[in-house]
Amino acid sequence: MAPTVAAARRSPARSAPTLPAGPRRPPLRVFEPAPRRRSAPRVVRRATMWASGLLIVGSLLAVVAGDALVTEGQIRLSTTQRQIAAAVASQKSLQVAVAEKAAPPVVVKQAASGGLVAPGQVVYLPRVNLGVPLPVPQTTPGPGAAAKSTATAATVPARR
């Protein structure tokens, strides 16, 4: 059924054109076509295409790698900051723990439990300049001291 309709539609359009009467036109001449510009060899085109593709992919990979590096750095920084905060907190806690142990009431309590007592009276000796050698004490030998030594075999260290 469809070919019949197509044939029916085609028939009126196929009438031969009538040429107008008049002077004859110069005959048509055939020109040689313009020489075609020679395109790059196929291999080069392919290489360029591959290079472009690789460049795009490489750039994308570089961006991804850079992003990963930055992220890793951020994680490291965050971890370090967390460690610093923890260390500072620990240092503070230890400092306070030391202060609690060194508090005067604690020291006094420990001293008392260890048997220490406050002196009833403090006797102060005059200050001595340690830069100046002490003088040799002036002693007076007792009677017969030179002849009789107090050292015994037990108090004199044995020489080896």
């Binding site: 907190a89 503070k92 806690s93 400092q95 306070v96 060194a102 604690v106 005059p126």
Partner: protein, 624 residues
Amino acid sequence: MRLVLVIVFLALVVQLINVQEVSHRRYASLSASQLTQTLSVPAVRGGIYDRNGEVLAESVTRQTVVADPFLITRPAAIADALAPVLGVPADRLRAQLTEHSGYVPLAHRVPDAVATKVTSLNLAGINLVPEPQRVVPDGQLASPVVGTVKWDGSGASGLEYQYESLLAGRAGSKSLMQTPDGVALPGNSSSVAARPGTGIELTMDESVQYVAEQALAAEIAASHAFSGTAVVMDVKTGDILAMADLQATAGSATTGAPAAGAAASTVAATSGPAATTGAAAATTASPSASTSGPTRVSPVVSLPSGIEEAPSNTAVTQVYEPGSVFKLVTFSAALAAGVITPSQQLQVPAALPMGTYTFHDAEQHPSERLSASTVLAQSSNIGTIEVAQALGKDRLLAQIGNLGFGKATGLDFPGESRGLVPGAAAWTGTSIGSTPIGQDDAVTAQQLLDAYNSVANGGVLVQPRLVRATVNSSGAVTATPASVARRVIDPATDAQLVSMLEGVVSSGTGTSAAIDGYTVAGKTGTAQIPDPNHLGYISGAYVGTFAGFAPAEHPVLSAVVVLDHPTPIYGGAVAAPVFSTIMAYALHHYGIPTTAAATASASSAAIGASGTVSVPSGATTEGP
């Protein structure tokens, strides 16, 4: 149909332009507000240290256990798991875990061990939030001076309040994007770092403070006093080395302390925040405060039973009538004006009528002749009034102001009182009798000490100070400026005063202040206490005081001791021994050579060539 499609398409285009171009800021901010969460990052509060770097107050980070009931599906099981760890009844936890809220604190500032256990339980909806806590490792030591903090960590009283801007630092913030279910989104976060607070290094010495409190507490208990104050000061620099403020526990059986709510004998002249926060300070800083409070006080108890730290620093915030210890003002003015000399003889009658009042000495005596030095040494009221009458009102009032009474000391402490000194306008017929003997004016213990310290310092009044340096978060120490000083007594008069004050301790009313090996100068005071409800004084109620310095030849340290309602009543009997105990320790602590050693230096240097031990010269210049 086509028209409808075109209209719809145009509407979409218009809305698109509206969303993307016209109102994009509003929609962007709306989105950010839903996704972005800004967290406050608290700054670490600066510490408070003594002059040797010992910690008096420090902030540490503790963990607060917080629940998000919206994420909790099995509240009963979680409550049962948490109850033994937190030490909280399971029923209470169960109720908290079923609250209609996303943030329910279960336990504030738990110890590190508890926080670790909670973490190991790995319970959904249970989180740990860091929270700073103030720790006071020395227990209650010097708490009226150091002060306390509130729940939010800000200063409530004392130096914690006064130096709030320095100690607090500046909180930071952290903004981060997160999904509605709380998962943090990578990137797009911004943060402002918190600036840690700056610490302060006090002039106080932990050891001297401890000894001062112990000696004062023992005397309060022994004399059944209501309260007591002791302050130790470096003569040259004005550094406060110790500032003890103690009181008998209300209703204590071992002391004479009044029941809670009874009127104190000293006049509360505080006007600053310390007055309003004092009660809170006492509550928050009590040893029984749990570890979850804003301040964790060391459980070490250093004071004897029945004695506790005063709620505020009474040495600078409360005034009282000083009594005879104020006679220093009268004698310094009279000596400077040439009205008297130390050896000048005065006729001292048994009584001195003046208007409707008759003035007596503490002990009855017939009319007698006493030298000016003896009048001061024996603390004769009548003799002192005679000196004041010869001096005159104007010169007496001028010297009161000159020595710093009626003015702020410059200590930079909150709620400091300037004192109540009658001016010329309030002068009455009996003022010339009561003012020179310290029964008409009200002063703080610190003002008294400043006056005696100026005598010890060769007549130069040096402003007291409590803070000697600031310590930044890196530990760098920056010294505060030296105290301001001004001459208030000429050197010749000062030398005479020192000699007269030595006489008070060697042969006068202050013999109990003597210290073996050192010469001590000072003055006793025994003052009646004004009746707050009636004109006149409370019968049988006194305040005992001793103020002085040592060694008298080369003063290094000065101190004042005040006892409220003691028995016996005399300053020479109750305050002077405390002065002696504290001063003896401080002199030994700082290695101040004994007077005998200083005297021996000259003679030993002369005979040093003969082979005996020589004492280095200049050893007396050392101090704290």
